[in-house]
């Protein structure tokens, strides 16, 4: 039977280590972590500089400040500690798939077979060194103990000469000198054992098993088993988390965006580093802002492709907060990365090169941040008949062909450049209107003629002053029944359309959505102007207005 070998990774002064990981600028300072409120707050951990000055666990803040006036005091931060614990857990997972989360900066991992990655006589010792180095890369200094039982491994991890390896079968001997309190017996049981004269773990282990069970019951059996270096409960590996979280409690409330983004950047870097250890990327970025005095602002940003690009994620965070301000001072935040597998690609020997998945994900995220939602993607044909219809889907190109295909002759088609939104135009039609007159001078019946042929046209307010032109065009454009799903271009410069019609072809009637509240009924014409340009224009039969919605180009 194979004896399970366990490694315990323990971070000493975990609350302090987690805080320093979140605020790396505090390294080298005299820092103390306090638990409790107000005058009842006590120091639970302090850096080496503070300890040298006499700041010990249990002293109050006032006492600590009296010993060291320049002491930086911080409260316990649950978000920091949770994130640090996750980071430690994920580091352990890079060594073994079976990792148990023991909490408070301690993880246990089964290392059966892992020693084969470290050839030599001191394989387990080398593995312990590798674990210490890996945890150090996540800014968590730790100790490592390797043994065949959880307690032995935990005790070994707390020893100063880390890593400490307890050979298989030597656990009982290793644990024997420890005081009985390390087994954490319950108070009643501890008193009983003390009356029996049992002071150390070794004393308990030497007692006959059956006698202990008959006198102390199930609890005694468990203690006796532990004292003999046997685990009463097997390792319980944790399932991978559905999301990754990093956060921070602020020292004081933040009201400006820039300081918040500064703190968020460090959190995002830690988040992406954790994702990278699992070969995952962020598919959706959520964030929760805790507001003063008691509020929560929670949002999520959908990403066009899974990415680990911190710059793009930070830009998206900024844009979202600018568009949706939280409405209160921020006292703490949590960033949540919902993971997904990044896109994979296979290199081709003879075909066209595929896009690098990482670079593509970064590109999409940055373009998304630059242009806004609904402006980047792969075009898709939309069911319907309105010429301006278009849709965007996520850009996820298929793998290129294995062999580069031979080029084929093109179709040489004339394309229509769609004007989104359509430009409202004035049109002079044949029949009742004399050439050169403006539409407002026409009889209303001229518009009611369905087959009225356009003779001349111009964009409304195209000849006015530029500022007024933009406003009026924007106003008129907004009334056009365009079907663009994105936001309108607003006051952007629009093409000027004006001239006499040289050739007109039409009308082609189009009706759509007649069953809905916004039916579409149009008469389309192709017109060539003597001044140049071939346009696709239409008359909206509902409103009687004319619009140009495309240029043949």
């Amino acid at each position: 039977m194979t004896i399970d070998r366990l490694a315990c990774v323990a971070v000493p002064l975990f609350a302090l280590a987690a805080r320093l990981r979140s605020e790396p600028e505090l390294r080298g300072e005299a820092v103390a972590i306090l638990a409790g409120n107000g005058s009842a707050a006590r120091v639970i951990a302090a850096t080496k500089i503070a300890r040298r000055a006499g700041v010990r666990p249990g002293v109050t803040l006032l006492q600590a400040r009296a010993l060291l006036p320049g002491l930086v005091a911080r409260g316990r931060d649950a978000a920091c500690e949770r994130a640090a614990q996750e980071a430690l857990f994920e580091t352990a997972e890079t060594f073994s798939p079976r990792v148990e989360d023991a909490g408070e900066g301690v993880v246990l991992l089964e290392i059966n077979g892992c020693e084969r990655h470290f050839p030599g006589a001191t394989a387990e010792h080398d593995l312990g060194h590798a674990l210490i180095l890996a945890a150090g890369r996540t800014d968590l200094p730790c100790g490592v103990g390797i043994a065949s039982s959880k307690l032995a491994a935990r005790v070994a991890a707390a020893l100063p000469s880390s890593p400490t390896v307890v050979p298989a079968g030597e656990e009982a001997r290793f644990l024997a000198p420890l005081p009985l309190a390390r087994l954490a017996p319950e108070i009643d049981l501890a008193e009983t054992l003390a009356r029996w004269g049992i002071r150390s773990v070794g004393d308990l282990a030497r007692l006959p098993k059956d006698e202990v069970i008959s006198r102390l019951g199930v609890l005694g059996q468990r203690l006796h088993q532990t004292a003999r270096g046997l685990d009463p409960q097997p390792l319980v590996p944790r399932l991978p988390p559905p999301d990754f979280r990093e956060g921070l409690e602020m020292e004081w409330p933040l009201v400006a965006l820039e300081p918040f983004l500064f703190a968020s950047r460090a959190a995002l870097e830690r988040l992406t580093q954790r994702l990278e250890t699992r070969a995952l990327s962020c598919a959706r970025l959520g964030f929760e802002l805790r507001l003063e005095p008691d509020g929560l602002h929670a949002r999520a940003i959908a990403l066009p492709a899974p990415t680990r690009d911190v710059k793009a994620l930070l830009t998206l965070l900024r844009l979202d907060l600018e568009a949706n301000p939280p409405g209160g001072a921020v006292v703490g935040f949590t960033l949540i990365a919902y993971p997904d597998r990044p896109r994979e690609s296979q290199l081709s020997l003879l075909g066209p090169a595929d896009l690098s998945p990482d670079r593509l994900a970064t590109l999409l995220a940055r373009m998304f941040a630059l242009l806004g939602p609904g402006r980047v993607g792969s075009p898709q044909v939309v069911d319907g008949h309105l010429p301006e219809r278009a849709a965007l889907v996520d850009f996820d190109p298929p793998a290129p062909p294995r062999v580069r295909p031979e080029p084929r002759p093109g179709r040489g088609l004339l394309a229509v450049r769609v004007l989104r939104p359509a430009i409202e135009i004035e049109v002079i039609t044949d029949g009742k209107a004399p050439a050169g007159t403006l539409p407002e001078e026409l009889e209303p019946s001229a518009f009611s003629q369905p087959a009225a042929r356009p003779l001349a046209l111009r964009a409304i307010a195209a000849n006015a002053a530029s500022a007024a032109t933009h406003d009026s065009i924007a106003a008129s454009a907004s009334s056009a029944p365009a079907n663009d799903h994105g936001k309108r271009q607003g006051a952007a410069a629009r093409p000027r359309i004006e001239g006499t019609v040289r050739v007109a072809s039409g009308p082609w009637n189009l009706e759509e959505s007649w069953w809905s509240e916004q039916p579409v009924a149009r008469d389309y014409w192709d017109v060539e102007l003597t001044e140049g340009g071939v346009y696709r224009i239409y008359r909206d039969r509902t409103a009687g207005s004319w619009f140009a919605d495309g240029v043949y180009d």
């Binding site: 373009m367 792969s378 179709r411 088609l413 004339l414 009706e511």
Partner: protein, 322 residues
């Protein structure tokens, strides 16, 4: 390949040493895998990216130069957008990933599909300002796209011409990645950064039907001319002509005027029957409509158009009704 037993066993790390032991006749025919791949990459890296329009490719010496900026300028209805779609169709059909930075937001996905584009290989970005368009173009170039098209739409371009340094920056990004950068603009914008500048002018708009009869848009004849070509490019020694005529037709149109416009094409056989000549001049277009029509709940009232014997596929009411 069978080798005699006396030959040394090839080692991966000493391929050159192994090759030196072979007979001279065999050495010339033997290539390592790395040499084969590099030679193939070199050919495709240096070969221009064809646009699938014979006239345009002939002018450009085979197509759009990789690692360089090619600028196409032209006013309204000069055929610029048709050429852009043709270039995108050729690249996507070849399996390349392409990006269209569409400042005018003028792409009709159905038109791109009709032109032959593989839409799933096309990244469509719709910036609102020239500054954003230039930034998006640079990002796309740095990400490894084989062809990046920047279309500035109809005049006036929002944002003007931008500074020349930004175009030089784009040109360097294209050169660094070996990507073809195709800029379509209503007027010159890229300054000295462009390796090749083409100007397109509308020569004639071709309509079916005579005066007094119902008319139907058939095609657009454009005149292409090279305004600038950098001496170091292959263009200078490969191209014999600096001007060309190009006809872009409305899908389904085979007007007599189009035949006349393209009759001057090299290899065009005027002795063939007109229908065959038309098919030779323009490869047949695959009809796209039935799936959309079948699933649609829309009601189309196509007004009969007297005298219009040829369907105009640009009008959805007609194309879908037919």
């Amino acid at each position: 390949m069978l080798m005699p037993m006396s030959m040394p066993e090839p080692a991966v790390s000493s391929f050159a040493q192994f090759r030196s032991t072979l007979p001279a006749a065999l050495i010339k025919q033997l290539r390592s895998g790395r040499e084969l791949v590099r030679a193939d990459e070199a050919v495709h890296r240096e070969a221009p990216l064809p646009t699938s329009l014979a006239e345009l490719d002939r002018l450009l010496g085979g197509g759009l130069e990789r690692g360089a900026l090619t600028e196409l300028i032209g006013g309204r209805s000069s055929g610029r957008f048709g050429m852009v779609l043709a270039a995108l169709a050729a690249a996507t059909t070849a399996g390349e990933a392409t990006a269209l930075i569409d400042l005018g937001n003028g792409l009709d996905p159905q038109a791109a599909l009709d032109a032959g584009c593989r839409l799933e290989r096309l990244l469509w970005a719709r910036p609102e300002r020239l500054r954003d368009a230039l930034a998006a173009t640079e990002m796309a170039l740095q990400s490894g796209f084989a062809l990046v098209v920047l279309d500035l739409g109809c005049p006036p371009v929002p944002g003007g011409r931008s500074s020349e340094s930004s175009w030089v920056r784009l040109q360097r990004a294209a050169a660094a990645q070996g990507a073809a950068l195709f800029v379509s603009a209503p007027y010159r914008v890229s300054g000295t950064a462009a390796a090749t500048v083409l100007r397109a002018r509308v020569r004639r708009v071709l309509w079916n039907g005579a005066d007094g009869e119902p008319r139907l848009l058939a095609a657009l004849a454009a005149h292409l001319a090279i305004e600038k070509s950098r001496a170091s490019t292959p263009l200078s020694h490969q191209t014999t002509t600096r001007e060309a005529q190009l006809a872009l037709r409305v899908p389904g149109s085979f007007a007599a005027e189009i035949l006349a416009a393209v009759a001057a094409r090299p290899g065009f056989d005027s002795a063939q029957p007109s229908g065959r000549r038309a098919r030779q001049a323009f490869p047949p277009v695959q009809r796209v409509s039935s799936p959309r029509l079948n699933v649609s709940n829309h009601l189309i009232l196509a007004q009969p158009f007297p005298g219009a014997m040829v369907p105009n596929h640009n009008h959805p009411s007609v194309s879908n009704h037919l």
